[in-house]
């Protein structure tokens, strides 16, 4: 408890009159402080040009990740980060340091993620983030390449006997704040002339808990997230994901606008993993493939050409990625696909040669 009105205390200290000698002393004392403050405010100006250099100096990559989404970004009970988005940051670290463990993961909520990237707290944001025009332009960010094509879906309790999202008229829906889901949800119900009660929470965990306790009829997020979060419910089998996909959610890593070298490195880390899958280079056979006669494989793995150096890395950059992490398909299946509890099918994320959208530009 504070003793008395604060305003009074302030007035007293301001009204205190000091002898003239003291005043001079205070001014002398203040002068360096003022000078320091002036330098602090006017001096350093933010430039984001040397991201790679500062990562090398620091000795580790700082990666903004989702700390709560199974399959994409989640520390296991031993504290090791795992997931599809986590693998991507490890791949970048492997390309730079030849060591996938040289990453520090910073768990971010959807609400904090952009500020953390803008302010330089993280080097790259790899946290199931949808690429939109306004985020690309007015947030000072650059999205590198879509590494997961997603769309928003709805989860409901089986007992509701709902088989389509179009039956959700007047339903209460729990959603996470600061996401494209929040906006798509409103759009979808408006377009279909349905009533809606939104209950918004800061974290996905809180929203999911509220859904589970019956505060909402439905929970909505990207469908990849729905599968992962359904596993966290007490009785996953009692909940179904509705068939409607109501939006396009191209999930992409993001970097700060203005450091083109760094955005090239992040972009080509993804393409290298796609190209490796297309060329059949895997974690298991990469050491043999280095000696391959196929020119495309030789260029990818650095046996031919100076492509890594052009990026500001070493020429075996892609070899390191595949050696430590594997190709795109391996990372997908291990974290979210058939090798994981999520069992998500490749769908849109299959290679373009197999009817999907994942397409890596040639390395040459």
């Amino acid at each position: 408890m504070r003793p008395a009105g604060d305003s009074q205390v302030c007035q007293n200290s301001l009204a205190l009159t000091r002898p003239p000698i003291l005043k001079g002393l205070i001014m002398k004392r203040l002068a360096p402080a003022i000078a320091l403050a002036t330098v602090a405010v006017f001096g350093p100006q933010a430039t984001w040009a040397q991201t790679l250099g500062s990562i090398k100096d620091r000795g580790e990559l700082i990666c903004g990740a989702n700390g709560t989404l199974a399959g994409f970004g989640l520390p296991d009970p031993q504290g090791n980060w795992t997931g599809f988005d986590v693998d991507f940051c490890r791949a970048i670290a492997a390309a730079i340091f030849n060591d996938p463990t040289k990453v520090k993961f910073v768990p971010l909520t959807s609400k904090d993620r952009f500020t953390a990237l803008q302010s330089g707290e993280v080097d790259v944001l790899s946290r199931n983030t949808s690429w939109t025009l306004s985020r690309d332009t007015s947030l000072g960010l650059d999205f590198t390449a879509v590494n997961y094509y997603d769309g928003q879906g709805f989860m409901v309790h089986k007992s509701l006997k709902v088989s389509s999202a179009l039956e959700l008229n007047d339903a209460a829906v729990c959603v996470q704040q600061g996401t494209t889901s929040e906006l798509n949800l409103t759009d979808y119900f408006r377009t279909n002339h349905m009533g809606l009660k939104t209950v918004t929470f800061v974290t996905a965990d809180e929203a999911l808990k509220a859904y589970e306790s019956g505060r909402c009829d439905s929970y909505t997020t990207d469908s990849s997230g729905l599968y992962g979060e359904r596993l966290q419910l007490a009785e996953p089998s009692q909940h179904i994901v509705l068939p409607e996909i109501i939006s396009k959610e191209p999930l992409s890593p993001a970097v700060r606008h203005g450091d083109n070298q760094w955005s090239d490195i992040v972009r080509w880390t993804h393409f290298a993993m796609i190209d490796a899958e297309e060329l059949g280079v895997t974690r298991a056979n990469v050491d043999e493939k280095v000696k391959s006669n196929d020119p495309e494989t030789r260029r990818l793995l650095g046996s031919e050409g100076q492509f890594g150096e052009a990026l500001g890395l070493t020429n075996d950059w892609a070899y390191r990625i595949i050696k430590h992490i594997g190709n795109y398909g391996e990372s997908f299946e291990r974290n979210v696909g058939q090798g994981s509890p999520l069992k998500i099918v490749r769908g849109l994320n299959a290679l373009w040669t197999k009817g999907g959208l994942q397409y890596g530009p040639p390395i040459r």
């Binding site: 408890m1 504070r2 008395a4 009105g5 604060d6 305003s7 003239p20 005043k23 001014m27 003022i34 403050a37 002036t38 405010v41 006017f42 100006q45 933010a46 430039t47 984001w48 959807s110 609400k111 952009f114 500020t115 803008q118 306004s134 985020r135 332009t137 007015s138 947030l139 000072g140 509701l160 959700l168 008229n169 007047d170 339903a171 209460a172 704040q177 600061g178 996401t179 929040e182 906006l183 949800l185 409103t186 759009d187 408006r190 009660k197 939104t198 209950v199 918004t200 800061v202 809180e206 929203a207 808990k209 509220a210 306790s213 019956g214 505060r215 009829d217 700060r256 606008h257 203005g258």
Partner: protein, 395 residues
């Protein structure tokens, strides 16, 4: 000799140079502070432009596009602007703060007085309440009320029907909405007339008491004027009030007045928490009045209630009001914990959804801070005015 005496007298300080020096110093200080503030703003603007982050307040009139669960003014996701969302959030903050302050004050005074009770059990219960509530963090209490108490209410399908058509479930409390017909204004007029007449009556009885020294009991006439008169008007106008009961839909309850569980949890937590502190403030205030005051009042023949009302409380209020202000300000600021349970207050709506969609952290946070500062200063001002009006005038 004269000189010696003069040197002993307090000397007038040489005033003019000191005053001019002071003014010059203060002007210099203002110039430096303004310059620093301007430089900081300029630097922020330059850095934002350099990092290609949008700045300025142009977003204010853009369409918001997100939904808000509790809106006291009309708001639609498809047409309302971010600015409108700001006002919705601000009103939600103010309504929680206002209700919380009223309830916490009532509960706090009751607990504070109870702790001074001569009844052992009552005093210990009040003491236990204060110690328990004061020492558990507010956030935990908030999560307790929201997750452990309100979410444990029956689900929609097992809703509890309340007498009079209300519905209670874990989606909230739904009460019948009163719908007045045009004749209802007669009841309001009768109510105001009754209150005015009661005030006149009170004034008359006080003047009579001061003149003659005899007291007339005016409780029943006052009750008759304030309650009886409007009720009579209500009956005469043909009961011009109907209630539209909330209806159970397939997914939700529709119609009626809706009280969200998030709102209820926040009000409960803020009220119960702040009341514990207010109780201590009240206890300190009452104890600060010397026992001799009560004894003197009783010696003059005042009954216990009159002694409390006329002698103890006015003196105790002098001690109570300044720390009470702090408690009110704390409650207003603590209402921003709404974020933890998804109540759409200013921080949740504006510094949450709006900040995220526009990405303009600097502007949004600056506005939010300014708003809390303004609310707090305004509350302080009101209470200081009240304190001045009720201050004891020394004679």
């Amino acid at each position: 000799m004269v000189e010696k005496i003069q040197s002993l007298l307090p000397q007038e300080p040489p005033r003019r140079p000191r005053r001019i020096g002071g003014i010059v110093l203060q002007i210099a200080l203002i110039v430096v502070i303004t310059g620093l503030a301007y430089g900081a703003i300029l630097n922020v603007a330059q850095n934002l432009a350099r990092a290609h982050i949008a700045s300025g307040f142009g977003f204010w009139s853009n369409t918001a596009g997100f939904d808000i669960s509790q809106t006291l003014i009309s708001y639609s996701a498809s047409t309302s602007s971010f600015g409108r969302a700001f006002w919705v959030g601000l009103l939600n903050t103010l309504v929680v703060a206002a209700i919380g302050i009223v309830l916490a004050t009532v509960l706090g005074f009751i607990i504070g007085i109870a702790r001074l009770s001569r009844n052992w059990l009552v005093a210990r219960l009040a003491g236990g309440y204060v110690e328990l509530i004061r020492n558990v963090p507010l956030l935990l209490q908030l999560l307790f009320w929201y997750n452990a108490v309100l979410k444990a209410l029956p689900e929609l399908r097992g809703s509890v029907g309340l007498p009079g058509g209300g519905i209670l479930n874990n989606r909230g409390l739904f009460l019948p909405r009163p719908e007045s017909s045009p004749h209802f204004s007669a009841v309001l007029i009768a109510l105001f007339a009754g209150i005015a007449a009661a005030l006149v009556l009170r004034d008359w009885s006080r003047r009579r008491r001061e003149r003659t020294g005899t007291q007339i009991r005016i409780l029943w006439p006052v009750l008759g004027l304030v309650c009886g008169l409007p009720l009579a008007a209500f009956a005469l106008a043909g009961f011009p009030l109907s209630f539209s009961a909330p209806q159970m839909g397939r997914f939700n309850v529709s119609g009626g007045i809706e009280i969200l569980p998030e709102f209820a949890a926040l009000v409960l937590a803020l009220t119960i928490y702040t009341a514990a502190f207010i109780a201590e403030v009240v206890r300190a205030g009452v104890l600060s009045v010397h026992a001799g005051q009560t004894e003197a009042a009783q010696a003059l023949g005042l009954r216990f209630a009159a002694a409390l009302h006329l002698v103890v409380v006015p003196q105790a209020m002098r001690v109570i009001i300044p720390p009470l202000t702090s408690q009110y300000l704390n409650l207003i600021k603590n209402s921003s914990l709404a974020v933890a349970i998804g109540y759409p207050d200013l921080v949740q709506v504006f510094a949450g959804s709006v900040l995220n969609i526009t990405g303009q952290a600097v502007e949004v946070i600056a506005i939010t801070m300014t708003v809390y500062l303004t609310i707090s200063l305004f509350t302080s001002l009101l209470i200081n005015l009240y304190a001045r009006a009720t201050a004891i005038v020394e004679r």
